[in-house]
Symmetry: C2
Subunit: 369 residues, 2 copies
């Protein structure tokens, strides 16, 4: 291979990205940015040094910082991923250092307050966002780029959000493998009150009924466990989420009570109740299922591929010649400048061997670690 | 091996067992009775000939009958496993033919009505029961003996239930691998109203809110899907279940509304709400998890082992000598007369080969098919 034909890593979407708050979601975004070559450097900002050390050890971020400062001016992407209760304070701490040209976004689950706060702070290029992804297991340890894959990621611009910022935010979300959905902040908050915060309260109310009678927990297997899984999430984060959205949640509770009353009345009208049961099943069965990669992320290797003919062939041939068994292959985030190729391999050792082989041929590669 | 040393299959608990209604639960009970050698003959009774043909083809029952009749007098175990709405009618149809010495039980999810009906019909040896097991996928096709393993199986004797009938019912449940829990019918109905019927109504109310606004279903992934899984069950069975138990359910709804109101008030008292969130998590996380066999039942082979020294060794050595790979082994239902050994093998072919080998040595064996 001549020097001229050597692969050239495509230019990333962002130069320096800062993820402020390196928990489950922040860590997953950081991993997505790194593994999909979306930022040249990913800096993790967190007040907790243990979290930063773990994020660095896990290869979630390239660099870490314990406090905001002048260094932030170099970032052209800033993602606020702190818990809800810390979000406004974090925005205030960061605002003085944010480059006016940087895209700023957040990942909080309630959107009414943060956009107004950013406007007040004079951060113009802000687009509030909410990736609808999560897990009962929080923390950077459980972070994974695949958590965001195919997730709905709501973006909530206000009337004063620049359209250029919105389209950059949309591009970021798409390149992270998620599906952007744009709506006003109050519409988002009403929707999540119904499909997330109300179910949490209902689930909590059910567990409290069981807590008041221990004989119940003996029988409460199966369906009841499914139904109360959301009550098993982090109590403080769940509490903050519903309190932050309490106005919209009260509206959803009122509508929920009406539905329950109607169903209670239908107990004396079995034909009507049967129709309600059919309608419930139809609706439930039509809910979208989010498909994610099935391969464990830790045996993944991502290779940057320039937009030149037969680059995928060059990668697979190099590995095939060395008897590396490619168990899964997927093209990620193709842009005009090229893209990235995710390879699923058999073991961490194979990932290391393949990485060394490809680096020797001039490819840029990234794994989970 | 001399004729004297040949294995003798232990005597089963019951001679002829009749399972009336061969659906998911009835079929699973029938399979349990056969696979664990608890009855010499299992007869499936169902008005639907297609169901009977399928049950026979799947090896769920030994014989089939399309209608009750004099033949029923030969049964010493009768299990009513028809859907709730057909249960009383079935009891009336069968009662004239039931042997007074036979143990009669049912598997319905509401217990108040059936015991009184049986008393009226003069069936003395009746013990109402409710195995707390199920699946969204109904029908004999999905029946499996493992569905009942470790499941809580409530038995609800009345003041007039003979204690001998209760202890036989308890023995039956234990030998099917489930855990019997005894309580009065009205206590059972109040408990299931809270942990099963109320959650179903709540789940239905949530899906109805989504049905009224299609934008919601776009975002309704993850937690919302978990929470509404029970709304995806068979509409008619679910409807019958809640209507049958409507009095207890109304009580549960009243208590649920109180819990919701308290939580709504706590939206203005974040410390109290945090305590409620912690209590909910503690309760949810302490719910029992039902452990079932992980091996697919279809590669299972069950061998009857007499209560003599080294019978398990005789089985494993015979298979080892023929290079049959035993992937899992479990001792089922040991009684004084001996017991049964479940072997997990690698393929249906291995099951057939092992069955032939063991039969040649005088063992009685049963597989899924």
């Amino acid at each position: 291979m001549t020097a001229d034909a050597a692969p050239v890593t495509p230019a990333p979407l962002f130069g320096t990205a800062v993820v402020a708050g390196v928990g489950l979601i922040g860590g997953s975004v950081a991993l997505g940015l790194r593994q999909r070559f979306l930022a040249r450097t990913v800096i993790g900002l967190d007040a907790n040094m243990d979290v930063l050390r773990e994020a660095e050890a896990l290869g979630v971020v390239d660099e870490v910082r314990a406090a905001p400062g002048e260094w932030l001016r170099g970032a052209d992407l800033v993602i606020l991923a702190a818990p809800m209760r810390a979000l406004t304070g974090l925005a205030r701490d960061l605002a003085p250092y944010v480059n006016p040209g940087a895209l700023v976004t957040d990942v909080g689950s309630v959107k009414g307050g943060i956009a107004a706060e950013m406007e007040r702070l004079g951060v113009r290029s802000f687009v509030a966002g909410h990736p609808m992804a999560g897990s009962e297991r929080g923390g950077v340890t459980h972070a994974s780029a695949s958590l965001l894959e195919n997730a709905v990621w709501v973006l909530t611009p206000t009337e004063s959000t620049p359209l250029t910022a919105l389209s950059r935010a949309r591009l970021l979300v798409e390149h992270l493998g998620a599906a952007p959905v744009v709506m006003p902040p109050d519409a988002h908050d009403a929707l999540v009150a119904t499909i997330s915060h109300l179910p949490y309260l209902a689930s909590l109310a059910l567990t409290h009924m069981v807590a008041r009678d221990e004989r119940l927990s003996l029988l409460a297997a199966g369906g009841f466990r499914d139904l109360t899984r959301v009550a098993s999430g982090d109590p403080r984060m769940s509490r903050d989420m519903v309190v932050e959205n309490k106005d919209a949640l009260r509206g959803a509770l009122t509508r929920f009570r009406k539905q329950l009353e109607r169903l209670e009345a239908d107990l004396d009208d079995p034909e009507e109740l049967l129709a309600a049961a059919h309608e419930g099943k139809r609706t439930r069965d039509s809910l979208p299922v989010v498909k994610r990669s099935l391969l464990p992320a830790k045996f993944d290797l991502v290779v940057a591929v320039p937009d030149k003919p037969n680059q995928i062939g060059a990668v697979t041939q190099a590995l095939g010649a060395a008897h590396v068994n490619i168990k899964d292959i997927e093209v990620l985030a193709i842009r005009e400048e090229g893209g990235a190729l995710r390879l699923g391999l058999e073991s961490p050792e194979e990932v290391q061997r393949a990485a060394a082989l490809l680096r020797a041929q001039g490819f840029e590669v990234r794994g989970r670690g």
